[in-house]
Amino acid sequence: MAPTVSAIGGSARTDFIFMMLFAAAVLTAPFWASFIGAGYPDLLQKWAIYGLFAIGFNILFGLTGYLSFGHAAFLGIGSYAAVWSFKLLTMNVLPAIAFAILFSALFALAIGYISLRRTGIYFSILTLAFAQMSYNLAYSVLTPITNGETGLKVIPTDPRILEELAGVRNTAVAPTTSLFGVEMTGYPGFYFCAVILIIGFFIAMKIARSPFGTMLKAIKSNQTRMNYTGFNTRPYTLAAFVISGMYAGMAGALLASTDPLAGAERMQWTASGEVVLMTILGGAGTLLGPVLGAAVIKYFENIFSAFNEQVLNAMFSFLPEVLKEGAVAVAGLFVGEGWHLTLGVVFMLIVIFLPGGIMEGIRRVHKLFKRSDGSSRSGAAAESA
């Protein structure tokens, strides 16, 4: 395989270079994103957080082929665990993240243990059922824990035991999340999320390259055969499920860290659908794909939502008046409030024509250029194919 597609499988050296490039790209995001109108911390944080969420989802879906439609439940559980840590212990984000990972792992273990007894669509329905149960309960009887529709918030008079012991608890002002004194808002918040994203990416890469990862891919390609060779696949799929649940929990904790608030709508099944969209859009089974997918979706969510009629009128101002009105009316369907329509259409097109997502698109374009050179070995192979 050519070095440029090291996202699929490469030597230790190409992996290292790939990793460095990824880290550099993430850490310089505030710089280059400003050119495409995305250079503000709010969006950058979302990129990093949802990128992490999608990476984790991909460990389950991309590697084992199990399509979970209930991953948002872990995102929600992570958020709730983090906010409770803020309320009870300290506003420091590290314990919050630790608790979020712990709790989401426990839930993932229980849910995964039951759901993974089935495959295919039954697995999807089971995860969906569990997510809906969590969502419904969070809204109704678990209100003492989740604060129902209002959502769980931090308030100045929370106990925060650790801060109390250290004598720094301030009940007068609204508390803010911090990492040893550095407030987790704005750019510091982004860099914190970015570092965790890079670590998460690194772990995901190590998993994909490890014998464990190979085993997961084997399960995806033919689980029956794996079973026939006397191999128990359950522990492997369960491990993948729990790891991916932990990623989701961590993403939930980061959401709560940048904005200390947790609501049940984060667990709704359409939210689970969103991470599926991200992963497929970017390219399931690839390392970089899910991050790209998350970035693209969150980017367009922000950019397209901001479009309004005036912007469109300005855009199409070169057209004659009659055409302009038509163009604005048609384009208006797809932007602003209706940006989900764009998302749905793009997603359908991707599933129909490019099941490998953006990454496959890049690969195809790459191959095209190779072919036009006509000199390289893979180019010749592509021609003969």
Binding site: I121, N136, G338
Partner: protein
């Protein structure tokens, strides 16, 4: 006692709705082997057929309100009323039943277009990909409806004659104890009729016989020189009609908004799985069963024993059924036993 009867009735009415949607889903899965995540959106489209018909019937002109003399006031009077008087008024009143007639051809067209234009390319792709593409389609349909009709629920009332409630207790000499809305009773009757019609169609017509044979063994039927594909396409259309009619009839119960389909989609999938993928009687049975179970779970007496049970009962049943009997209640052995 009356409380139990009332809950049972409520459960049946709810179950009728679940059964109708699940029936369509199962028809599609049993014939074409396609998992249709856009089915909820089709239900929603049906509901918006009713909204459209109502909008068309109430197209109004602005006339000066003569009763107000201090200033120029205008009021809207539907054309139908100015043209036909009381008959026009009645037509508007009966907009939901009228929409049923309108919905059949519209939904059939939508169904055929969807099958020919999209679904047929996904016969041989994985269930995951089918779920994904139909999920994408559901989002698109939903957003188109939102762009056209806005995000707020649009009230579409039932005809005035059946607006109130019926005192069923009278029949059993216990006046006033079992009072139930007319429209939900009508819904229950309607769902029974539609379900029976679909079953009768499959059971007693030659077309239905071929379809049933095709569901059993598509290849052999094909080898006999029968165009199975064309019949399955029509069955897809029928399933879409059933979803659409269920949507139309549901509008007086819940004012339709663009995401109503998504709420029912998850439930109806659970129903299908509990009944057994590909089993039509299973879907109907599970629909009514889960409806009744949900009704009983939301009784205060039950809720006080197990708090929150009403929120999770359906999903809990699904989880248990999938653990102990993965092929569902009436699923055939060996079919989709994942």
């Amino acid at each position: 006692m009356d409380a139990i009867v009332l809950q049972f009735l409520d459960g049946l009415a709810k179950g009728g709705n679940y059964a109708l949607i699940a029936l369509g889903l199962t028809l599609i899965f049993g014939t074409l082997g396609v998992v249709n995540f856009a089915h909820g959106a089709l239900f929603m489209l049906g509901a918006f057929c009713a909204v459209t018909v109502q909008k068309l019937l109430t197209l109004s002109e602005r006339v000066k309100d003569e009763s107000i003399t201090f200033f120029d006031a205008y009021k809207e009077i539907p054309y139908l009323e100015t043209w036909f008087g009381d008959t026009g008024h009645m037509l508007i009143d009966y907009s939901v039943p009228i929409s049923l007639l309108a919905a059949i051809p519209v939904m059939l067209l939508i169904g055929l277009a969807m099958e020919r234009g999209l679904i047929r390319f996904f016969y041989h792709r994985s269930h995951a990909e089918q779920i994904l593409v139909t999920f994408g389609l559901a989002i698109v349909l939903q957003e188109l409806v939102k762009a056209q009709f806005g995000a707020n629920p649009i009230p579409t009332p039932a005809p005035e004659v059946v607006a109130g409630s019926l005192d069923i207790g009278v029949w059993f000499n216990v006046e006033g104890s079992i009072v139930y809305p007319y429209w939900r009773l009508i819904y229950l009757a309607f769902s029974t009729v539609v379900i029976s019609a679909v079953f009768a169609f499959l059971q007693f017509t030659t077309f239905g016989m071929v379809v049933r044979a095709g569901m059993q063994d598509r290849e052999t039927v094909g080898l006999l020189g029968i165009n199975v594909q064309r019949r399955f396409t029509i069955v897809f259309g029928i399933a879409v009609i059933v979803a659409g009619l269920a949507g139309v009839m549901y509008t007086p119960i819940q004012s339709p908004d663009y995401h109503m389909g998504m709420d029912f989609l998850v439930l109806s999938f659970v129903v299908v799985v509990v009944g057994g993928m590909g089993s039509l009687p299973g879907a109907v049975l599970a629909g009514f069963l889960l409806g009744v179970l949900q009704s009983f779970a939301s009784m205060n007496e039950v809720k006080s024993i197990i708090p929150g049970i009403d929120q999770v009962i359906i999903y809990l049943v699904a989880v248990i059924v999938l653990q102990v009997r993965p092929r569902g209640l009436l699923g055939r052995k060996g079919v989709m036993e994942g």
